[in-house]
């Protein structure tokens, strides 16, 4: 069985890690961070949970299948690119509405794909 201390610590750490990852995702455009790192941190959080409480518990906590995140993330990135085509610009041209830009949505796509990739691999390996 997993050590008690680690398991208890995970309960506190997990939400903090996920929050921190979201923070990094949002600030990424101006300060160190971004979707890739954010995705890795979220994955680490869930990997930790899988270690301490088992993969089944980690899957439940993730709510969606990591395999599904792969597709959703790719589609988010793709549609971000296509939205510029709708605006009459070449594919993947950044669009800005004040401080909010389409690159953030693209980064969210990256974020989701990274989580999907790492957790698909981790969960499958851990269940094997």
């Amino acid at each position: 069985m997993s050590p008690l201390i680690l398991r208890t610590a995970t309960r506190v750490l997990m939400p903090l890690m996920v929050l921190f990852a979201l923070f990094m995702l949002v600030r990424g455009h101006n300060d160190p961070g971004g979707g890739f790192v954010g995705g890795l941190v979220v994955s680490a959080a869930y990997a930790l949970l899988a270690f301490t409480s088992g993969v089944a518990e980690a899957r439940r906590a993730l709510i969606v299948d990591p395999e599904r995140l792969l597709g959703v993330g790719l589609l988010v990135a793709l549609f971000t690119g296509l939205s510029s085509a709708l605006a009459g610009e070449p594919f993947l041209t950044a669009l800005w509405w004040g401080g909010l830009g389409s690159p953030l949505f693209f980064d969210i796509g990256v974020f989701l794909v990274v989580i999907g990739v790492v957790l698909t691999m981790t969960f499958t390996l851990a269940e094997d």
Partner: protein, 762 residues
């Protein structure tokens, strides 16, 4: 408008999947979309193209590379688009009944709409590279459609064959397009025709050969004709759509489209005449020897495609008009006959003509559609097929090259195709009701309305040719490059051509009575199937012989090869091109912190090398990674450091998951092997160090770094240069990378799941 015409089927594809899954009984209403698009194409043709000439729209894509989604609608493109959408609508309508209740109906509909969009893209693209992309998309979606019944090994084989062949043709198209773009300096087809005399350009011959390769594979010309009968493994609605009306005509369409650019030379015309003529005769001859109705029709399609290529080879105004009329007539009667055969198959469970007969009592409406379509295909007067054949004969008769020979083979092939038409369209319905027909009854309404309206259109066009004279003239202008008014009429006096038409009918009647004998005349198999599978098997054998030598199953061996190869190449490059690896400004003495970190890294690396269990090795390597990440922090690369930390952590986690079932190593390498590894590692390490030092000696630092640093806040609205590059400046690269990542994850998932399942089963 044009963009909407091409792109909306792509948008509809997921909607169709949803409708197919949610309300399978309402699928037929999806046919309204292509029907609407057909009205749009018709509207554009009559109100804009006929009045003001071709229309063009462009969506920028990667304009600096010459990649623009540019659509150009002239008469030829819109007539082709009309065929795609009209028959597309009927096929969706028909398929809703043919595949009612099939569990994979949503998948079929998705692929069907994607295919429709891709075909419209082929028809309307003006940019050659966009044309290539749509061309490949038709091949890809047709792979999904031919292999629809993927439980069936024959369907998978046929799908693979069609995909490999037309895919290879697609690559030829890409190469040909690249040559043409370089030779003419434009990517737009509409401008290439004006680029002047290409025939004397040194790349002309290559361009022609490559475009021929693309068109001949797609349009099933000899010697690539064998994939089309094989593709009959597809569900019948798909055959009606892809293999009679649209995809196989894409090759012919490409040739027609390229005629103003590449045509007019001996190479062009003679090749097309020989290949088209041969294909026509081979196809027609094989058609009368088959007994499977779908294969009969498939071979007549091969023959018709040959005839179309032949007409493009003749290249006169008359031949261009003939090609358009023939193409429309063929789409109407062949699409109709395919649907009829599907209905027969659906009701009786067989397509074997020797077991069918007398179905007119049971399926009167299907029989009516079949009779009308067969009459058009045979070429009876008052049917549109008659016009196609008359104009075809006339084009051959007035050809500048070998008119007598052309007319002779045309009459012979048409007569054989007429026999095939009777076999498919009349044979199953007349005579005594056969055993398989006992329990048959009229096909569902959606399955006779389609063929009946297609065949009926053939009658209407024949009785009132005035309504399509305009579009035909506009379409022919796309081939010849100059518009001339067209007036096709049913009766144009006692001409030699009329005599040949009559002769054809007599031949059809005579040969049909001898059809059983014709079937036995089957010559020794031409075996062109073998020219496909033969080389493929040979390739497999070579790979079976070579792979074991390279692929020995030892990860350590692969790593050794990779490292030695990379290190060797780098060392060679440094020795040849490098000076002294001393950076500008000389070397700076290390700081205390760096010394500590380097010591930690070295100790950890040694520990990894000396570890006696995989777990220890993994942890030691993780320490090395963290050490490097800390160095990144001190050098002011926080993003890199963060990523390195996270990746390192997750690598250790994944390694631990993989290795947790292993304890200590079974055995350690021998002293000799360790010595070898130490030398390789040491030398390659030294090479990399030299390389890093050498990079610092570059006289002029890269200007890209300055550009990105300057442009990130202004153009990219962000201060984090790394992130701005990733999600904005080079977002396209990132898009590719995350796609690769996702594919890799799916691969890992699939491999492990399959492994786990096999273990559970055994």
């Amino acid at each position: 408008m044009l963009s909407f015409l091409v792109l909306s089927p792509f948008v509809l594809a997921p909607v169709a999947a949803y409708v197919g899954g949610r309300w399978p009984s309402q699928v037929r209403w999806l046919a309204l979309w292509p029907a609407g698009l057909a009205l749009l194409a018709e509207h554009l043709l009559r109100t804009q193209v006929a009045v003001g000439g071709p229309i063009t729209t462009a969506l920028p894509w990667a304009a600096p590379l010459g990649l623009t989604l540019q659509f150009h609608a002239d008469g030829l493109a819109l007539v082709f688009a009309l065929m795609i959408t009209v028959i597309g609508a009927l096929v969706v309508w028909y398929a809703s009944a043919y595949l009612a209740g099939h569990r994979d109906l949503p998948r079929l509909l998705t692929a069907l709409f994607l295919f429709m969009g891709a075909m419209l893209g082929v028809a309307l693209s003006d940019n050659l590279f966009a044309l290539f992309v749509f061309w490949e998309l038709t091949g890809f979606t047709s792979y999904l459609l031919i292999g629809f019944e993927h439980d069936d090994a024959a369907a998978r084989r046929a799908a693979m064959q069609a995909f490999v062949l037309t895919g290879a043709g697609g690559l030829a198209l890409l190469a040909g397009a690249t040559l043409l773009v370089q030779a003419t300096g434009t990517t737009a087809l509409s401008e290439m025709a004006r680029a002047g005399d290409l025939a004397s350009h040194p790349v002309y011959v290559w361009a022609v050969v490559l475009f021929f390769a693309a068109a001949f594979t797609k349009s099933a010309q000899v010697p690539f004709h064998f994939w089309l009968p094989g593709a009959m493994a597809a569900p019948t609605p798909i055959s009606a759509y892809l293999h009679s009306a649209t995809m196989v005509k894409a090759g012919v369409y490409l040739l027609a489209r390229m005629t103003p650019v590449l045509g007019g030379t001996d190479l062009w015309s003679n090749t097309l005449l020989v290949v088209g003529g041969t294909t026509m005769v081979v196809g027609a001859w094989r058609a009368v020897q088959e007994t499977d109705l779908k294969r009969v029709l498939a071979y007549t399609t091969v023959a018709a495609l040959g005839a179309l290529v032949l007409m493009i080879g003749i290249g006169t105004q008359g031949a261009a008009v003939a090609a358009i009329v023939y193409m429309i007539a063929h789409a109407s009667y062949k699409g109709s006959l395919f649907m009829v055969v599907g209905a027969i198959d659906h009701e009786t469970g067989t397509r074997d003509v020797t077991r069918l007969g007398g179905l007119r009592q049971k399926m009167p409406l299907t029989a009516l559609a079949a009779a009308l379509a067969a009459a058009s295909m045979v070429g009876l007067p008052f049917f549109f097929g008659f016009f196609g054949k008359e104009l075809f004969y006339e084009a051959g008769w007035t050809s500048a090259r070998a008119p007598g020979l052309l007319l002779g083979v045309s009459v012979a092939a048409s007569a054989l195709m007429g026999v095939a038409a009777l076999t498919a369209g009349v044979g199953p319905f007349v005579g005594r009701l056969s055993e398989v027909g006992e329990r048959a009854h009229e096909a569902p309404r959606a399955m006779w309305t389609g063929p009946l309206s297609l065949a009926g259109a053939g009658v209407i066009f024949a009785l009132a040719p005035g309504i399509i004279n305009g579009p035909i003239g506009l379409a022919a202008a796309g081939i010849t490059g100059a518009y001339q008014d067209v007036h096709i009429v049913l009766w144009h006096g006692f001409t030699p051509v009329l005599g040949f038409s009559a002769l054809t009918l007599l031949l059809v009647a005579g040969l049909y009575s001898q059809r059983h004998r014709l079937r036995q005349l089957r010559p020794a198999s031409v075996g062109s199937d073998r020219i496909f599978w033969g080389p493929l098997r040979a390739l497999e054998r070579v790979s079976e012989a070579v792979s074991p030598a390279l692929y020995r199953g030892s990860i350590r061996g692969y790593v050794l090869v990779l490292i030695v190869a990379t290190g060797g190449l780098l060392a060679a490059a440094l020795l040849v091109g490098g000076g002294a690896p001393v950076p500008r400004g000389g070397l700076v003495p290390p700081r205390a912190f760096e010394l500590v970190m380097v010591t930690v890294i070295c100790v950890a690396a040694l520990a990894a090398a000396r570890a006696t269990s995989s777990m220890r090795a993994v942890l030691a390597l993780g320490t090395v990674g963290y050490g490097v990440a800390l160095l990144f922090v001190t050098y002011g690369a926080p993003d890199l450091a963060m990523t390195q930390f996270s990746v390192e952590t997750l690598t250790v986690v994944i390694f631990v998951l993989v290795f947790r079932m292993f304890g200590s190593f079974d055995h350690l390498s021998s002293r000799l092997v360790r010595l070898r590894d130490a030398i390789v590692a040491g030398v390659v390490g030294a090479v990399i160090s030299a390389l890093v030092l050498f990079v610092g000696t570059a006289d002029e630092p890269s200007r890209l770094a300055d550009f990105f640093a300057e442009a990130a806040p202004t153009l990219g609205h962000g201060r984090n240069v790394v992130n701005v590059i990733l999600v904005d400046f080079r977002a396209f690269d990132t898009m590719g990378e995350i796609t690769v990542l996702a594919v890799a994850a799916i691969g890992v998932h699939a491999l492990l799941r399959i492994g786990a399942q096999e273990r559970r089963n055994s």
